[in-house]
């Protein structure tokens, strides 16, 4: 990221409210305070938002430093675009419970899938590591 016009830079996004999607599936929302060439980010007044179905819950997290390699996407939150029409905010306890149930069903289907593949002598390697540029 440099100062040549027309190139993708995060310098104009500083001090604005952003949403960042992380590689582990988490969503963080906060004010972007600092950036660098690796897309390492410093977030202020961060909130971790958990989505399950149409419900969501926010957990306050304070200041976050995100290592660039974990960033999938960074989006500027447009305050004029409403999202409350579709989504329903619930308490932290409730959303954590919903998430736990969702993880449980996911693990069970994953287990069944792996067993079926194993019976046929197949296995799918996990794509955990991303390439460097």
């Amino acid at each position: 990221m440099n100062y040549v016009p027309g190139t993708a830079s995060l310098i104009d996004d500083i001090d604005k409210k952003h949403l960042v999607l992380l590689r582990d599936g988490r969503t963080l929302i906060g004010f972007l305070r600092s950036i660098d060439q690796f897309a390492n980010l410093v977030f202020h007044q961060t909130v971790e938002r958990i989505h399950v179905g149409k419900k969501f819950g926010d957990i306050p997290r304070g200041i976050f430093i995100v290592r660039g390699e974990n960033v999938v996407l960074l989006g500027e939150i447009d305050v004029e675009k409403p999202c409350d029409a579709v989504l329903q905010q619930v308490s932290i306890e409730e959303i954590l419970e919903e998430q736990r149930l969702q993880q449980q069903t996911k693990q069970e289907t994953e287990k069944v899938k792996l067993q079926v593949l194993k019976d046929r002598g197949l296995s799918i390697p996990k794509a955990d590591n991303l390439d460097e540029y």
Binding site: M1, N2, G6, T7, A8, S9, L10, D13, L19, L21, R23, G25, T27, A39, R49, H51, K54, F56, G68, E69, V71, V72, L73, L74, G75, E76, I77, D78, V79, K81, P82, C83, V86, L87, A127, L130, D131, E132, Y133
Partner: protein
Amino acid sequence: CFYSALFYSFFKSLVGKDVVVELKNDLSICGTLHSVDQYLNIKLTDISVTDPEKYPHMLSVKNCFIRGSVVRYVQLPADEVDTQLLQDAARKEAMQQKQ
């Protein structure tokens, strides 16, 4: 240290066009290409998620920055790309690299 500035230049020529970016986490985002950098990080404006039910968190987001390392595909309309020119440029680049 960089394999090619070729695709950086190629994407620069597509700024302003509508593209669909498919990420390695299977999320697909449609939007207008605003800018690109040497790492092939992409900035899109006026985005819409092609499968909004799976990813509700993007509802309030109009513009986004996508890290180059998480892109799987960038889908382009065929009439926006001169494939012959691109092929020739890639071939030339490959020849230069061999030396």
